[in-house]
Symmetry: C2
Subunit: 618 residues, 2 copies
């Protein structure tokens, strides 16, 4: 009784015909068949990323979510949300073309902004060139391994069979001896000849949305290559809760998430090696940071209960695993070090930010805000550290925004509102959409211009009081209050780019999450604004944010601007510090023990604080 569902990636592509149980959604059927349909909201009808166009067979009646998300025009043109649409008849659909990912790059990965003081380089990876005397007499009682271990002064417990496998040829193929690589009391590799100068490591930051991998020479700390990509798990849910919901009690889906991230890391390894000429077998140490869910999924651990109260992680301690156990294409015994976790929503990334900023060492009280899909706020000093999660969702990364996009070429990243709207696009190419920093500029400008009020309402009814050029941009579209950011032709836009009332609500939710995180930590720690000596904005996104705009919309408290600064991707910098220094890696464990986790939602003041934080400052 299966129904034929024909899917083509685009109008021109070779279609695939799936045999589908009647009643399944198009999204689920596509995912089951291995077709990547992006579902940023996790298939809950809360975004438009999974929209499809019906081209043959009966077009189903629109659901409420189709109407809300897609609007009348698209519904009339036979667009539907794949996550809402149940297959009952044989139909053919085209996926709506996504924004080209090739043009996508996290700008600022590798940006020089660094809050790191110089770390003393001591990666723990050592290389030693030795000559091993092999038995010559038949009447011996020894082995290749025993002779090697005698030469380096270690015992058998230091060596795993994968290293033993390499001995017979390595020990006999070069008269100049072998190079023995060790780390934390283990032999990681035995290579023929002298390879003592070849010693590399990777720092990996696995974000919910973005993954950044940096290749570093372990002797000098020199950064040789860095690549970043969209986290390929994103098609199964843009924010953390959607991602967890996808995997929840579904081992097959967990496996999908797991293999996606392993696959991406292997691509990154190949790419940084290609860019630098380093061979993967010369990479002996990897430090990985990420939030608790990313950490668990990387290890193949079910994150189901991380997403359910009381949000308990399955494990928290730091690990150092052989690369082969994670199927990473490096020296099999290369050590992959995962930093420790504090709580279900305060992960190793928060520990890395704390480490990189040295917040836990000085007397002054500082705040770090890691802005991301699942952001964190850390507040404190040498005396005490508090941390909470600030689940902003992906809105500030352009998702779930009508014309939102990531910070790629063509994204509006700066907006000035004076007599009219003026925009700047990344790469100064024709405008395709609007990214997070542009959104924040835009809303800050519209607040100042009186187009949006403190509750977030687009004041269509008060158009008369606005400047004439702006007035023409504020319109009702059906039931929807809308600001026309660009008309077709303006700034090279091929189509109209708008800000809807719902987009403003999404930004309010996002900034409310972060602002209430900061406010609640201040309340728990009894630290008022004037005692905060520095507020640091971290995360790839933080670098592109206009600080005055962020203060204007209330994303961060109204501190003197000289006390606010960008610190770049601090989680990645923390990973780099641990890569280069075992002392720093030990410090990460100590910090994870010291940081006090504050659960926002469990705090009695949370609702009050959040409602206030949702509003814009007057």
């Amino acid at each position: 009784m299966a129904v034929a569902l024909t899917i083509a990636a685009t109008a021109g592509a070779e279609p695939r015909v799936l045999s589908v149980t009647p009643g399944a959604t198009i999204l689920r059927a596509a995912h089951a068949a291995g077709i990547d349909v992006t579902a940023t909201c996790g298939g809950r009808g809360r975004c438009t990323s999974c929209r499809v166009k019906f081209v043959a067979g009966p077009v189903p009646p629109p659901t409420i979510m189709d109407e809300v998300q897609l609007g009348d025009d698209q519904v009339r043109e036979a667009y539907r949300l794949a996550c809402q649409c149940h297959v009952t008849d044989a139909v053919t659909v085209h996926l709506a073309p996504p924004i080209a990912e090739e043009s996508f790059q996290i700008l600022g990965a590798g940006a020089p902004a660094t809050p790191l003081r110089r770390v003393e380089i001591d990666s723990g990876v050592t290389k030693q060139v030795v000559k091993v005397s092999l038995p010559r007499e038949e009447h011996h009682q020894t082995s290749d391994l025993e002779e090697l271990l005698a030469a380096v002064g270690m015992d058998e417990s230091a060596v795993s069979p994968t290293v033993v496998q390499t001995l017979p040829s390595a020990l006999r193929e070069d008269a100049d001896g072998v190079t023995v690589t060790t780390f934390a009391g283990k032999v990681l590799a035995v290579e023929r000849g002298d390879t003592a100068l070849l010693r590399f490591g990777l720092a990996v930051d696995i974000g919910t949305t973005t993954v950044v991998t940096t290749l570093i020479e372990l002797g000098s700390g020199e950064q040789l290559a860095s690549v970043s990509s969209l986290n390929p798990q994103s098609v199964f849910g843009g924010d953390l809760m959607s991602r967890i919901a996808f995997a929840q009690f579904n081992p097959g889906n967990l496996r999908k998430l797991h293999t996606r991230i392993i696959g991406l890391l292997n691509q990154h390894i190949a790419e940084v090696c290609r860019l630098s000429g380093v061979l993967p077998k010369w990479i002996y140490k990897v430090v990985v940071v990420g939030n608790t869910c990313m950490h668990h999924v990387l290890l193949g651990i079910d994150p189901s209960y991380v997403g359910l109260a009381p949000y308990a992680p399955v494990m928290r301690h730091a690990l150092a695993l052989p690369a082969r156990e994670l199927f990473l294409k490096l020296a099999p015994e290369a050590r992959v070090c995962l930093l420790p976790i504090v709580a279900g929503f305060v992960g190793a990334d928060a520990v890395a930010v704390t480490l990189a900023t040295h917040m836990g060492e000085g007397d002054e009280i500082r705040v770090a805000v890691d802005i991301g899909t699942n952001g964190e706020v850390i507040l404190g000093s040498r005396d005490h550290l508090w941390a909470c999660s600030a689940p902003a969702g992906p809105a500030l990364e352009g998702a779930q925004i009508r014309h939102g996009m990531r910070g790629a070429a063509g994204a509006i990243d700066r907006v000035v509102v004076d007599d009219d709207l003026r925009v700047h696009t990344i790469g100064e190419t024709p405008a395709l959409g609007i990214c997070g920093s542009g959104l924040i500029d835009l809303i800050a400008g519209l607040l100042d211009a009186g187009v949006i009020d403190a509750t977030g309402l687009i004041r269509v009814d008060d158009r008369d009081r606005m400047r004439p050029a702006l007035r023409d941009r504020v319109v009702m579209r059906g039931e929807e209050r809308t600001v026309i950011v660009l008309r077709p032709g303006e700034a090279g836009a091929r189509q109209e780019i708008v800000l809807t009332q719902d987009d403003v609500r999404q930004v309010q939710l996002a900034k409310g999450a972060i602002a209430s995180g900061i406010a609640l930590l201040q309340r728990v720690s009894r630290v008022s604004d004037d005692r905060i000596s520095e507020l640091m904005l971290a995360g790839g996104f933080g670098n592109y944010l206009s600080i005055p705009s962020a203060v204007r919309i209330g994303l961060i408290p109204r501190l003197p601007l000289e006390r606010i600064r960008y610190i770049g991707n601090a989680a990645s910098l923390g990973a780099q510090a641990c890569l280069l220094s075992e002392a720093e890696r030990a410090r990460a464990n100590e910090l994870a023990d010291r940081i006090e986790h504050v659960s926002l939602a469990a705090h009695p003041d949370f609702e009050d604080v959040f409602v206030t934080a949702m509003n814009f400052p007057a």
Copy 2:
């Protein structure tokens, strides 16, 4: 310029057409294509196991080896050795039908003969049922793992990520708690509910020719199931040197040997579980014994240099590895324990025999002879232990013998020579060939009857002095001295079964290897026959040997028969002892350190001893 080679397994089977580089041997081409052509001698033209029949295309002229091994009749009927025959034209060949392996069973695997005194059962595998209290408040700082470890009083270093993966569901799905299995300070499994009574282990003996796997209940020591099979590596070389030559400096061939043995062990696991109803996930400990080459190949370690003077092993120490690292389908963290090795040709199997016989504990001097393709001799007492290898080759297992076969149904296993020859077959079914114990009986009888002389010559020229019925069986076949063991129809034989002069030479080589091993250890240790209080015959084959016949042909010294006994598969029994007792496993390490390896070939007396040992006692 490739040539088409068509191969059918038998006359009736679907043929496969291979595209072959001209000049390649049929054997190599078949192996490259994944077709199992048995090459007991390793493709050196020393046996007939790879013979093929040409059925289309030009039949190549016979090589010397074809003539020696196959004889005129077969050469005329277009049989050739696949290992000797280079493909130059398009041809079609049929593989010669092998003896049906379904009927093959190592008789006596699981035989009750046991030299073990009762070992105190202490497998080291413990199960503990605990209730774990999970966090209930959001404002917590703990994890599933930390709560579990607190309940069992262990720390994080005891747990690997594969166990952590099982925690979220195990801890929440049963109100009665979880069962935590530990071994040697590690947590092997966490199972929901109370599984404390389910605790099993495997003893595995990987012989060059035969692999035996025994499933044992770890609390009682009860043997629940045992299976044995031909080592599937045998098609790539019947004896150890052929096997090593196959893998030598050829990583692809090493991988073939490795995957064959892993595949077989997984079949054995499935089979013992099927026979007993035990689930693989309840098997937590495995003890593996085998010679150095089998040990190295199991671990994927190149044994090339084990086969080249000075025959150094790559490693010797005992291991305990997670089953997942060997791709065994058990609980992923089940521990696979490999016993230690003494030298390149005195492996973990010799250590296991020494352990099982308790030779190293008493004051009396005892000798253990493990008869196998690569046999070992161990001599000594509490004071000192010596061991050497006795590479008998596969002749005593029926290989490289014109009508040889393994100890399967239809094999002649007993021969009495009086006025005529009288035979007994395994299963009392029609005679198909002759196995090792039958060969030894036959040659012993023919020696007594004067058909064979002390140098091994079949005395065709002295037929007149033989009893009439025997006289008619001693004939020249072309250039070849032959004894007709059975004429077609005798003992149900469908075809003639003969003993050739070359067969006698093969037995002389085999028994000479063992006898000279014993003699040389006696010489090194200065132990004369009268000081040997007991000589033990071990190995599956030893059980079926007639001791008087073995003494008659000089396989073992002429001791009083009451000082000679069978002890069954002592290597497997040693593995079982280590499975049931960690104290025994520790003793294996101590024994491996104590055993002095004597290199036969390097000993100045070796040639003298060997030449003498090749002859039969007068």
